[in-house]
């Protein structure tokens, strides 16, 4: 289990910078959690449907109509950086 479970690689997938100490610690702590979870492999689930939601819900639609909601100023009110009614982020395209 733990030889396949590589915290450093998973952290990259999650876009989450971790320190060397965190990587070592999580590797061992989550290794223990994963061994506990291993027990699920003993359960016979043949023919069992997965449950994604407790209540059986199918797609719920509402009319696609404009309504009173956030103004652009509201939407930007918590932005770390904004200008001219836009979210400002580091350059994406060279």
């Amino acid at each position: 289990m733990s030889d396949q479970f590589d915290v450093r690689y998973i952290a990259q997938l999650a876009r989450l910078d971790l320190s060397a100490e965190e990587i070592t610690k999580f590797q061992s702590q989550l290794g223990q959690v994963l061994s506990h979870v291993e027990k699920l492999k003993q359960v016979d689930v043949s023919g069992v449907e997965p449950t994604a939601h407790a209540n059986h819900v199918v797609n719920v639609f509402r009319a696609d109509e404009p309504r009173d909601w956030f103004t652009p100023a509201d939407a930007l009110s918590n932005a770390p950086r904004s200008a001219n009614g836009l979210f400002i982020v580091p350059k994406v395209i060279e």
């Binding site: 876009r15 989450l16 910078d17 449950t51 407790a54 819900v57 509201d74 580091p90």
Partner: protein, 481 residues
């Protein structure tokens, strides 16, 4: 008796008879908070000015008219902070009301105060808050439980008349048990999640913390119902949840799950819960043994499903639209550093675990398998409910533990939720109410009795809880803080 120690229903009577006013009620809370919150640290912030303005014009004839209600810091209240106990949202100000807040306002209540919590509702002790831990009002060296530990502590310490929390795997019932108050997790879909910052969307539900069962019914009356802004909320009729209170227990069947009464339970908790079950028999309820054979798998299933959903939900904290930002050289650096510096250790652990179980090659082995075992867990409950009206068991295996005891042992911390998790996986309703005290180191520590009800049968659940509460005195004990 101080005004602050009143229940919602008692306060409501005094407000309607003009014996007191909403402003006086708020003043009483302010005095109480000033006295005990330096020890309890149940609140992250309080906005007296806004609350006082609302109190001055409150209509006390509304169902919760003029009653201040404390709010877990994960539910958006317009103009208030909503940090979720996380550094990454330090400084965030909500610019809309969650649906439950709109409904509370419509019922006349005043949202007041932000309650401390484990970061993003991940934890069982409130030690994972980025803003310091909360303390148990019965023994400040112990935890109040979590993740809604602040909500439970302020109600138990009479710093609030009632509070809202959220419950993903026990985050209302476990702290209610550890602090000695009533905590109710409604059926999935009963209460709108719109405006609740998402942790695990298929499990999260908002619910009340109160001093009495009747108060829980009053709050549930206000916050229940279908909401077009939450497509998983269900269009079930909302009854008056106080209507069945006071009815006797003749013909009521309660199920003792044999898998919940095995080794590992603290002897004082075991004795208190067994005494409560005998008490139910004396009230006329019939006790039946039931089996929930997949109980041992609940914690494993939960930590796959909840972390998988969390890793997806927390992807939105990327330093672009809200929250703090770090790193500016390029987009990847900004994402990595913003999240690496903004999230605390438990949130990082769960993002890693959730990303792993969803990653290519492991999805079927972990996530899909967990969802199938979830089906089996739900079936266990549904077949038990063919025989009984509700399930009766402990809320937690032990009373409140010492701060620091488990904070570096995630697996041990996760196992603290063993009795509460299955209810969320099954999607049904559950509550905790006080059923006694454990004596530890010369301190009295509350013990919680858990009742798990059939889906959307909260009225029955509250009736069963109320019959016990009204024939015992546990809820009258006051935390010594």
């Amino acid at each position: 008796m101080s005004l602050a120690s009143l229940s919602v229903s008692e306060l409501r009577c005094k407000l309607r008879s003009r014996e007191t006013s909403p402003v006086e009620a708020l003043n009483a809370l302010e005095a109480r908070i000033g006295k005990v919150d330096p020890v309890v640290h149940g609140y992250l912030s309080r906005d007296y000015a806004t609350a006082r303005a609302l109190a001055e014009k409150a209509d006390v004839n509304l169902p919760l008219g003029g009653v201040p209600i404390a709010i877990k810091d994960v539910i958006n209240v317009k103009g208030e902070p909503c940090s979720c106990g996380s550094k990454i949202l330090d400084g965030y100000t909500a610019n809309y009301d969650a649906t439950v807040i709109k409904l509370l306002r419509a019922a006349g209540a005043i949202p007041f105060g932000r309650c401390n919590m484990d970061e993003f509702a991940m934890g069982s002790s409130t030690e994972n808050s980025a803003f310091g831990r909360s303390c148990n009002p019965w023994d400040p060296s112990r935890v109040p439980g979590g993740s809604s530990g602040g909500s439970a502590a302020v109600v138990a310490a009479n710093e609030a008349f009632a509070a809202l929390g959220s419950d993903t795997g026990g985050s209302i019932r476990q702290p209610a048990a550890l602090c000695g108050c009533v905590g109710l997790k409604p059926t999935y879909g009963r209460v709108s999640r719109f405006g609740l910052v998402a942790f695990a969307s298929s499990l999260d539900q908002i619910g009340p913390f109160t001093k009495t069962v009747e108060d829980a019914a009053l709050l549930l009356n206000a916050i229940s119902g279908r909401d077009p802004l939450d497509s998983t909320s269900v269009d079930e009729p909302v009854p008056d949840y106080t209507a069945k209170l006071g009815q006797d227990l003749k013909g009521v069947k309660l199920g003792m799950p044999k898998e919940y009464f095995i080794g590992g339970i603290d002897p004082q908790v075991d004795a208190a819960v067994r005494a409560a079950i005998r008490h139910y028999e004396s009230l006329g309820a019939e006790i039946v043994e039931v089996s929930l054979p997949n109980t041992e798998h609940a914690v494993g299933v939960y930590y796959i499903i909840a972390t998988a959903e969390a890793s997806a939900n927390l992807a939105r904290f990327d330093g672009v639209r809200y929250g703090s930002r770090a790193g500016n050289a390029n987009l990847l650096e900004m994402y990595g550093q913003t999240r690496g510096q903004g999230f605390g250790p438990e949130v990082k652990r769960r993002i890693i675990l959730g990303t792993y179980v969803l990653s290519s090659g492991y999805y079927d082995a972990f996530y899909l398998r967990a969802q199938k075992v979830r089906t089996l867990i739900r079936r266990d409950f549904m077949s038990a409910f063919e025989k009984v009206d509700a399930i009766i068991c402990p809320t937690t295996p032990e009373p409140a533990f010492k701060a620091g005891d488990r904070s570096d042992d995630p697996l041990k911390m996760y196992l603290a939720d063993i009795f509460t998790i299955a209810c969320n996986l099954a999607g049904t309703c559950g509550m905790s109410l006080p059923c006694g005290f454990a004596e530890t180191d010369g301190k009295k520590l509350p013990i919680g009795l858990q009742l798990i009800g059939q889906p959307f049968q909260e009225a029955r659940l509250l009736q069963i809880a109320h019959a016990y509460e009204q024939s015992t005195d546990w809820h009258k004990s006051v935390a010594p803080v």
